[in-house]
Protein backbone atom coordinates (compact mmCIF):
# COMPACT_ATOMS: atom_id res chain seq x y z
CA UNK A 1 0.00 0.00 0.00
CA UNK A 2 2.00 2.93 -1.17
CA UNK A 3 0.69 6.42 -1.45
CA UNK A 4 2.57 7.24 -4.63
CA UNK A 5 1.13 4.14 -6.28
CA UNK A 6 -2.38 5.21 -5.33
CA UNK A 7 -1.65 8.76 -6.52
CA UNK A 8 -0.51 7.65 -9.96
CA UNK A 9 -3.21 4.99 -10.22
CA UNK A 10 -5.86 7.70 -9.77
CA UNK A 11 -4.22 9.92 -12.39
CA UNK A 12 -3.95 6.99 -14.76
CA UNK A 13 -7.56 5.98 -14.28
CA UNK A 14 -8.80 9.50 -14.92
CA UNK A 15 -6.68 9.84 -18.04
CA UNK A 16 -7.97 6.53 -19.39
CA UNK A 17 -11.53 7.66 -18.60
CA UNK A 18 -10.90 10.95 -20.40
CA UNK A 19 -9.65 9.05 -23.42
CA UNK A 20 -12.83 6.95 -23.46
CA UNK A 21 -15.13 9.97 -23.09
CA UNK A 22 -13.44 12.11 -25.66
CA UNK A 23 -16.38 14.31 -26.60
CA UNK A 24 -16.90 15.44 -23.02
CA UNK A 25 -13.25 16.37 -22.73
CA UNK A 26 -13.02 18.12 -26.08
CA UNK A 27 -15.89 20.47 -25.17
CA UNK A 28 -13.92 23.07 -23.15
CA UNK A 29 -11.10 23.13 -25.68
CA UNK A 30 -13.55 23.60 -28.51
CA UNK A 31 -15.24 26.40 -26.56
CA UNK A 32 -11.85 28.10 -26.03
CA UNK A 33 -11.00 27.95 -29.72
CA UNK A 34 -14.45 29.04 -30.88
CA UNK A 35 -14.67 32.08 -28.60
CA UNK A 36 -11.23 33.31 -29.57
CA UNK A 37 -11.77 32.82 -33.28
CA UNK A 38 -15.07 34.68 -33.15
CA UNK A 39 -13.53 37.86 -31.72
CA UNK A 40 -11.62 38.94 -34.85
CA UNK A 41 -14.78 38.34 -36.86
CA UNK A 42 -16.88 40.39 -34.49
CA UNK A 43 -14.47 43.29 -34.15
CA UNK A 44 -13.71 43.58 -37.85
CA UNK A 45 -10.67 45.10 -39.53
CA UNK A 46 -9.13 46.78 -36.50
CA UNK A 47 -5.85 44.95 -35.92
CA UNK A 48 -4.61 47.41 -33.28
CA UNK A 49 -7.71 47.11 -31.14
CA UNK A 50 -7.56 43.33 -31.44
CA UNK A 51 -3.90 43.29 -30.50
CA UNK A 52 -4.59 45.46 -27.49
CA UNK A 53 -7.33 43.24 -26.10
CA UNK A 54 -5.77 39.91 -27.11
CA UNK A 55 -4.39 39.02 -23.64
CA UNK A 56 -7.74 39.71 -22.05
CA UNK A 57 -9.62 37.69 -24.66
CA UNK A 58 -7.33 34.68 -24.29
CA UNK A 59 -7.42 34.74 -20.52
CA UNK A 60 -11.15 35.31 -20.18
CA UNK A 61 -11.77 32.44 -22.61
CA UNK A 62 -9.37 30.21 -20.70
CA UNK A 63 -11.17 31.05 -17.49
CA UNK A 64 -14.60 30.30 -18.93
CA UNK A 65 -13.34 27.11 -20.55
CA UNK A 66 -12.00 26.02 -17.16
CA UNK A 67 -15.38 26.82 -15.55
CA UNK A 68 -17.12 24.76 -18.19
CA UNK A 69 -14.97 21.74 -17.49
CA UNK A 70 -15.16 21.91 -13.71
CA UNK A 71 -18.39 20.04 -13.17
CA UNK A 72 -16.95 16.87 -14.68
CA UNK A 73 -14.25 16.78 -12.01
CA UNK A 74 -16.22 14.88 -9.36
CA UNK A 75 -19.67 14.42 -10.96
CA UNK A 76 -19.29 10.93 -12.40
CA UNK A 77 -17.38 9.71 -9.34
CA UNK A 78 -20.17 11.02 -7.16
CA UNK A 79 -22.87 9.40 -9.29
CA UNK A 80 -21.33 5.94 -9.52
CA UNK A 81 -20.02 5.66 -5.97
CA UNK A 82 -16.30 5.80 -6.82
CA UNK A 83 -16.08 8.87 -4.62
CA UNK A 84 -17.32 6.89 -1.61
CA UNK A 85 -14.67 4.28 -2.25
CA UNK A 86 -12.01 6.96 -2.55
CA UNK A 87 -13.02 8.51 0.77
CA UNK A 88 -12.90 5.10 2.45
CA UNK A 89 -9.36 4.49 1.27
CA UNK A 90 -6.79 4.45 4.08
CA UNK A 91 -4.76 6.99 2.09
CA UNK A 92 -5.22 10.69 2.89
CA UNK A 93 -8.13 11.98 0.83
CA UNK A 94 -6.40 15.28 0.10
CA UNK A 95 -3.60 13.50 -1.78
CA UNK A 96 -6.02 11.41 -3.83
CA UNK A 97 -7.98 14.57 -4.55
CA UNK A 98 -4.78 16.25 -5.71
CA UNK A 99 -4.26 13.36 -8.12
CA UNK A 100 -7.75 13.89 -9.51
CA UNK A 101 -7.10 17.61 -9.92
CA UNK A 102 -3.77 16.90 -11.62
CA UNK A 103 -5.47 14.56 -14.08
CA UNK A 104 -8.19 17.15 -14.66
CA UNK A 105 -5.57 19.77 -15.47
CA UNK A 106 -3.73 17.43 -17.83
CA UNK A 107 -6.97 16.84 -19.69
CA UNK A 108 -8.46 20.34 -19.71
CA UNK A 109 -5.65 22.81 -18.95
CA UNK A 110 -2.75 21.44 -20.93
CA UNK A 111 -4.60 21.40 -24.29
CA UNK A 112 -5.30 25.14 -23.86
CA UNK A 113 -1.56 25.68 -23.52
CA UNK A 114 -0.95 23.81 -26.73
CA UNK A 115 -3.43 25.73 -28.88
CA UNK A 116 -2.87 29.13 -27.25
CA UNK A 117 0.20 30.19 -29.31
CA UNK A 118 -1.70 29.56 -32.52
CA UNK A 119 -4.68 31.58 -31.34
CA UNK A 120 -2.39 34.35 -30.06
CA UNK A 121 -0.89 34.73 -33.51
CA UNK A 122 -4.42 34.79 -34.88
CA UNK A 123 -5.18 37.78 -32.64
CA UNK A 124 -2.01 39.54 -33.76
CA UNK A 125 -0.14 39.27 -30.49
CA UNK A 126 3.55 40.15 -30.91
CA UNK A 127 5.84 37.12 -30.98
CA UNK A 128 7.93 38.23 -28.03
CA UNK A 129 4.87 38.04 -25.78
CA UNK A 130 4.09 34.42 -26.67
CA UNK A 131 6.55 33.04 -24.16
CA UNK A 132 5.00 35.04 -21.34
CA UNK A 133 1.50 34.06 -22.46
CA UNK A 134 2.45 30.40 -22.25
CA UNK A 135 4.14 30.92 -18.92
CA UNK A 136 1.06 32.63 -17.45
CA UNK A 137 -1.15 29.84 -18.77
CA UNK A 138 1.22 27.23 -17.37
CA UNK A 139 1.11 28.88 -13.94
CA UNK A 140 -2.50 30.03 -14.05
CA UNK A 141 -4.54 27.13 -15.41
CA UNK A 142 -3.54 24.71 -12.61
CA UNK A 143 -4.73 27.37 -10.15
CA UNK A 144 -8.08 27.43 -11.96
CA UNK A 145 -8.37 23.65 -11.54
CA UNK A 146 -7.30 23.73 -7.90
CA UNK A 147 -9.60 26.56 -6.81
CA UNK A 148 -12.41 25.24 -8.98
CA UNK A 149 -12.15 21.88 -7.24
CA UNK A 150 -13.14 23.49 -3.95
CA UNK A 151 -16.28 24.89 -5.53
CA UNK A 152 -17.15 21.59 -7.23
CA UNK A 153 -16.57 19.62 -4.05
CA UNK A 154 -19.01 21.91 -2.25
CA UNK A 155 -21.69 21.72 -4.93
CA UNK A 156 -21.37 18.15 -6.23
CA UNK A 157 -24.11 16.97 -3.87
CA UNK A 158 -26.59 19.47 -5.29
CA UNK A 159 -28.42 18.39 -8.41
CA UNK A 160 -28.33 21.81 -10.05
CA UNK A 161 -25.23 23.39 -8.59
CA UNK A 162 -24.03 25.08 -11.77
CA UNK A 163 -25.08 28.61 -10.89
CA UNK A 164 -23.79 28.45 -7.32
CA UNK A 165 -20.57 26.98 -8.60
CA UNK A 166 -19.86 29.97 -10.84
CA UNK A 167 -20.79 32.40 -8.08
CA UNK A 168 -18.46 30.62 -5.68
CA UNK A 169 -15.54 30.17 -7.97
CA UNK A 170 -15.44 33.19 -10.30
CA UNK A 171 -14.50 35.76 -7.62
CA UNK A 172 -11.61 33.53 -6.60
CA UNK A 173 -10.44 33.38 -10.21
CA UNK A 174 -10.18 37.15 -10.48
CA UNK A 175 -6.64 37.56 -9.04
CA UNK A 176 -5.30 35.04 -11.55
CA UNK A 177 -7.09 36.86 -14.36
CA UNK A 178 -5.74 40.25 -13.29
CA UNK A 179 -2.12 39.26 -12.86
CA UNK A 180 -1.94 36.92 -15.84
CA UNK A 181 -3.74 39.33 -18.17
CA UNK A 182 -1.58 42.19 -16.98
CA UNK A 183 1.64 40.21 -17.46
CA UNK A 184 0.81 39.38 -21.05
CA UNK A 185 -0.23 42.98 -21.71
CA UNK A 186 3.04 44.33 -20.33
CA UNK A 187 5.06 41.72 -22.20
CA UNK A 188 3.40 42.79 -25.46
CA UNK A 189 4.60 46.32 -24.75
CA UNK A 190 8.12 45.03 -24.05
CA UNK A 191 8.01 45.78 -20.32
CA UNK A 192 9.38 43.54 -17.53
CA UNK A 193 6.85 41.19 -15.96
CA UNK A 194 8.84 39.60 -13.12
CA UNK A 195 6.49 40.89 -10.43
CA UNK A 196 3.35 39.43 -12.02
CA UNK A 197 5.05 36.11 -12.72
CA UNK A 198 6.29 35.91 -9.14
CA UNK A 199 2.80 36.58 -7.85
CA UNK A 200 1.37 33.91 -10.14
CA UNK A 201 3.99 31.44 -8.90
CA UNK A 202 3.11 32.20 -5.30
CA UNK A 203 -0.64 31.85 -6.01
CA UNK A 204 0.04 28.48 -7.65
CA UNK A 205 2.16 27.22 -4.77
CA UNK A 206 -0.38 28.35 -2.20
CA UNK A 207 -3.25 26.76 -4.10
CA UNK A 208 -1.25 23.55 -4.52
CA UNK A 209 -0.70 23.27 -0.80
CA UNK A 210 -3.93 24.71 0.56
CA UNK A 211 -6.65 23.71 -1.90
CA UNK A 212 -6.64 19.88 -1.47
CA UNK A 213 -7.52 20.11 2.23
CA UNK A 214 -10.81 22.01 1.87
CA UNK A 215 -11.65 19.90 -1.18
CA UNK A 216 -11.30 16.72 0.87
CA UNK A 217 -13.37 18.20 3.69
CA UNK A 218 -16.06 19.45 1.30
CA UNK A 219 -16.30 16.08 -0.42
CA UNK A 220 -16.85 14.38 2.92
CA UNK A 221 -19.65 16.83 3.56
CA UNK A 222 -21.20 16.39 0.12
CA UNK A 223 -21.22 12.60 0.29
CA UNK A 224 -23.23 12.52 3.48
Amino acid sequence: MSLSRAFFAVIRRDLVLALRRRSEVANPLLFFILVITLFPLGIGAQPHLLQAIAPGIIWVSALLAAMLSLDSLFRSDFDDGSLEQMLLSPHPTSILVLAKIAAHWLVTGLPLLIVAPLLAVFLGMPNHALGILLLTLLLGTPVLSLIGAIGVALTVGLRRGGMILSLLVLPLYVPVLIFAGNAVQMASGGLPVDAQINILISILLMALVLAPLPVAAALKMSIN
Binding site: R13, L17, S76, D80, G81, E84, Q85, L87, N224
Partner: protein, 207 residues
Protein backbone atom coordinates in the same frame (compact mmCIF):
# COMPACT_ATOMS: atom_id res chain seq x y z
CA UNK B 1 -9.45 -22.00 10.95
CA UNK B 2 -8.76 -19.32 13.56
CA UNK B 3 -6.77 -16.17 13.03
CA UNK B 4 -4.19 -14.91 15.47
CA UNK B 5 -5.76 -11.56 16.19
CA UNK B 6 -9.36 -10.84 16.98
CA UNK B 7 -11.00 -7.55 16.21
CA UNK B 8 -13.97 -5.86 17.70
CA UNK B 9 -16.42 -3.38 16.29
CA UNK B 10 -18.63 -1.63 18.72
CA UNK B 11 -21.28 1.04 18.65
CA UNK B 12 -22.69 2.68 21.74
CA UNK B 13 -25.70 4.94 22.16
CA UNK B 14 -26.03 5.64 18.46
CA UNK B 15 -28.86 7.75 17.25
CA UNK B 16 -29.76 9.30 13.95
CA UNK B 17 -32.18 12.13 13.32
CA UNK B 18 -33.15 13.03 9.80
CA UNK B 19 -35.38 15.99 9.02
CA UNK B 20 -36.63 16.10 12.63
CA UNK B 21 -37.55 12.43 12.44
CA UNK B 22 -35.82 10.11 14.86
CA UNK B 23 -34.74 7.05 12.88
CA UNK B 24 -33.17 5.23 15.80
CA UNK B 25 -32.00 6.07 19.30
CA UNK B 26 -29.67 4.49 21.84
CA UNK B 27 -28.67 1.79 19.43
CA UNK B 28 -25.79 -0.38 20.57
CA UNK B 29 -24.02 -3.40 19.17
CA UNK B 30 -20.86 -5.31 19.89
CA UNK B 31 -19.37 -7.38 17.16
CA UNK B 32 -16.27 -9.56 17.32
CA UNK B 33 -14.37 -11.54 14.73
CA UNK B 34 -16.43 -14.26 13.10
CA UNK B 35 -19.80 -12.61 13.73
CA UNK B 36 -22.36 -11.15 11.38
CA UNK B 37 -24.60 -8.23 12.22
CA UNK B 38 -27.80 -8.25 10.20
CA UNK B 39 -29.83 -5.05 10.15
CA UNK B 40 -33.51 -5.52 9.52
CA UNK B 41 -36.31 -3.05 9.18
CA UNK B 42 -38.79 -1.75 6.70
CA UNK B 43 -37.92 0.80 4.02
CA UNK B 44 -36.98 4.14 5.47
CA UNK B 45 -36.24 2.74 8.92
CA UNK B 46 -32.66 3.98 8.79
CA UNK B 47 -30.71 0.88 7.72
CA UNK B 48 -28.69 2.68 5.09
CA UNK B 49 -28.26 5.71 7.35
CA UNK B 50 -26.82 3.44 10.02
CA UNK B 51 -24.43 1.83 7.56
CA UNK B 52 -23.28 5.23 6.37
CA UNK B 53 -22.71 6.27 9.96
CA UNK B 54 -20.68 3.11 10.51
CA UNK B 55 -18.58 3.96 7.45
CA UNK B 56 -17.95 7.43 8.81
CA UNK B 57 -19.77 9.22 5.96
CA UNK B 58 -22.22 10.68 8.45
CA UNK B 59 -21.66 11.72 12.01
CA UNK B 60 -24.07 10.01 14.41
CA UNK B 61 -26.31 12.53 16.17
CA UNK B 62 -25.30 10.89 19.41
CA UNK B 63 -23.09 8.02 20.42
CA UNK B 64 -19.78 6.72 19.20
CA UNK B 65 -18.30 3.87 17.21
CA UNK B 66 -15.19 1.98 18.24
CA UNK B 67 -12.87 -0.23 16.27
CA UNK B 68 -10.78 -2.52 18.49
CA UNK B 69 -11.43 -0.15 21.38
CA UNK B 70 -10.43 3.09 19.64
CA UNK B 71 -12.66 5.68 18.01
CA UNK B 72 -12.74 4.85 14.29
CA UNK B 73 -10.98 8.07 13.32
CA UNK B 74 -7.95 7.14 15.47
CA UNK B 75 -7.73 3.49 14.52
CA UNK B 76 -6.78 1.31 11.60
CA UNK B 77 -10.48 1.12 10.75
CA UNK B 78 -10.21 2.40 7.18
CA UNK B 79 -7.37 0.03 6.38
CA UNK B 80 -9.41 -2.91 7.63
CA UNK B 81 -12.87 -2.32 6.26
CA UNK B 82 -14.54 -2.51 2.88
CA UNK B 83 -17.90 -1.14 1.87
CA UNK B 84 -20.24 -2.08 -0.93
CA UNK B 85 -23.20 0.23 -1.04
CA UNK B 86 -26.18 0.95 -3.25
CA UNK B 87 -23.80 2.47 -5.76
CA UNK B 88 -21.41 -0.06 -7.20
CA UNK B 89 -18.41 2.24 -7.15
CA UNK B 90 -17.23 0.91 -10.48
CA UNK B 91 -16.59 2.86 -13.64
CA UNK B 92 -18.61 1.68 -16.59
CA UNK B 93 -16.10 2.96 -19.15
CA UNK B 94 -13.30 0.89 -17.64
CA UNK B 95 -12.76 -2.83 -18.03
CA UNK B 96 -13.29 -5.29 -15.21
CA UNK B 97 -9.56 -5.61 -14.67
CA UNK B 98 -8.95 -1.84 -14.67
CA UNK B 99 -11.68 -1.37 -12.09
CA UNK B 100 -10.21 -3.95 -9.75
CA UNK B 101 -6.70 -2.58 -10.22
CA UNK B 102 -7.74 0.87 -9.07
CA UNK B 103 -9.48 -0.60 -6.00
CA UNK B 104 -6.32 -2.49 -5.24
CA UNK B 105 -4.17 0.62 -5.63
CA UNK B 106 -6.38 2.51 -3.19
CA UNK B 107 -6.03 -0.18 -0.54
CA UNK B 108 -3.72 -3.02 0.50
CA UNK B 109 -3.71 -6.30 -1.35
CA UNK B 110 -5.66 -8.99 0.39
CA UNK B 111 -6.14 -12.70 0.46
CA UNK B 112 -6.81 -13.27 -3.22
CA UNK B 113 -5.20 -12.06 -6.41
CA UNK B 114 -7.43 -10.38 -9.00
CA UNK B 115 -7.58 -13.56 -11.10
CA UNK B 116 -8.52 -15.71 -8.14
CA UNK B 117 -11.18 -13.23 -7.04
CA UNK B 118 -12.71 -13.10 -10.52
CA UNK B 119 -12.82 -16.90 -10.59
CA UNK B 120 -14.49 -16.88 -7.16
CA UNK B 121 -17.30 -14.59 -8.30
CA UNK B 122 -17.65 -16.47 -11.60
CA UNK B 123 -16.34 -13.62 -13.72
CA UNK B 124 -13.19 -15.34 -14.95
CA UNK B 125 -12.51 -14.50 -18.57
CA UNK B 126 -14.28 -11.14 -18.31
CA UNK B 127 -11.04 -9.26 -17.53
CA UNK B 128 -11.03 -7.07 -20.60
CA UNK B 129 -14.77 -6.56 -20.92
CA UNK B 130 -15.95 -3.01 -20.33
CA UNK B 131 -18.22 -2.85 -17.33
CA UNK B 132 -21.01 -1.18 -19.34
CA UNK B 133 -21.35 -4.47 -21.23
CA UNK B 134 -22.00 -6.43 -18.02
CA UNK B 135 -25.43 -7.25 -16.63
CA UNK B 136 -26.61 -5.79 -13.34
CA UNK B 137 -25.92 -9.03 -11.51
CA UNK B 138 -22.43 -9.27 -12.97
CA UNK B 139 -21.72 -5.70 -11.91
CA UNK B 140 -22.80 -6.54 -8.40
CA UNK B 141 -20.54 -9.59 -8.35
CA UNK B 142 -17.69 -7.41 -9.60
CA UNK B 143 -18.18 -4.91 -6.79
CA UNK B 144 -18.24 -7.81 -4.35
CA UNK B 145 -15.00 -9.12 -5.87
CA UNK B 146 -13.44 -5.95 -4.52
CA UNK B 147 -13.96 -7.36 -1.03
CA UNK B 148 -11.80 -10.33 -1.87
CA UNK B 149 -8.81 -8.60 -3.40
CA UNK B 150 -8.30 -5.98 -0.71
CA UNK B 151 -7.04 -6.55 2.78
CA UNK B 152 -9.95 -6.23 5.18
CA UNK B 153 -11.58 -7.61 8.27
CA UNK B 154 -14.92 -5.86 8.29
CA UNK B 155 -17.33 -5.93 5.37
CA UNK B 156 -20.11 -3.37 5.37
CA UNK B 157 -22.68 -4.40 2.78
CA UNK B 158 -25.82 -2.51 1.86
CA UNK B 159 -28.29 -4.91 0.23
CA UNK B 160 -25.56 -7.11 -1.26
CA UNK B 161 -28.07 -9.46 -2.88
CA UNK B 162 -29.77 -6.85 -5.04
CA UNK B 163 -30.03 -8.00 -8.67
CA UNK B 164 -28.32 -11.30 -7.99
CA UNK B 165 -29.92 -14.57 -9.11
CA UNK B 166 -30.29 -17.58 -6.83
CA UNK B 167 -26.84 -18.92 -7.69
CA UNK B 168 -25.32 -15.49 -7.14
CA UNK B 169 -26.92 -15.27 -3.70
CA UNK B 170 -25.64 -18.73 -2.77
CA UNK B 171 -22.20 -17.74 -4.00
CA UNK B 172 -22.08 -14.59 -1.89
CA UNK B 173 -23.36 -16.51 1.14
CA UNK B 174 -20.51 -18.99 0.71
CA UNK B 175 -18.02 -16.13 0.51
CA UNK B 176 -19.51 -14.58 3.63
CA UNK B 177 -19.27 -17.84 5.57
CA UNK B 178 -15.67 -18.22 4.46
CA UNK B 179 -14.87 -14.65 5.48
CA UNK B 180 -16.30 -15.19 8.95
CA UNK B 181 -14.46 -18.49 9.31
CA UNK B 182 -11.26 -16.60 8.62
CA UNK B 183 -11.94 -14.22 11.46
CA UNK B 184 -13.71 -11.53 9.49
CA UNK B 185 -16.90 -9.77 10.43
CA UNK B 186 -19.80 -8.47 8.39
CA UNK B 187 -22.44 -5.82 8.87
CA UNK B 188 -25.18 -6.04 6.30
CA UNK B 189 -28.73 -5.13 5.46
CA UNK B 190 -30.84 -7.48 3.45
CA UNK B 191 -34.41 -8.09 2.45
CA UNK B 192 -33.65 -11.69 1.59
CA UNK B 193 -33.55 -14.42 4.18
CA UNK B 194 -29.93 -15.26 4.46
CA UNK B 195 -28.74 -18.75 5.17
CA UNK B 196 -25.41 -18.61 6.96
CA UNK B 197 -24.59 -21.96 8.52
CA UNK B 198 -22.27 -22.17 11.50
CA UNK B 199 -22.04 -18.39 11.70
CA UNK B 200 -23.06 -16.35 14.70
CA UNK B 201 -25.61 -13.88 13.34
CA UNK B 202 -26.74 -10.97 15.51
CA UNK B 203 -29.86 -9.20 14.38
CA UNK B 204 -30.98 -5.65 15.02
CA UNK B 205 -34.46 -4.68 14.00
CA UNK B 206 -34.76 -0.97 13.37
CA UNK B 207 -38.50 -0.68 12.93
Amino acid sequence: MQTKSTHSFKGAGLSCIRDDRVLFEQLAFDLVSGQVLLLEGKNGSGKTSLLRILCGFREPDAGAIYWCGDAIKDSLFYAQMAYVGHLDGIKKELSVLENLKISLALSCSGRYSIDQALAKVHLAGYDDVLVQALSAGQKRRLSLARLLITENVLWILDEPFTSLDRQGIALIETLMIEHCANGGMIVLTSHHDIALHNVDVLTINLS
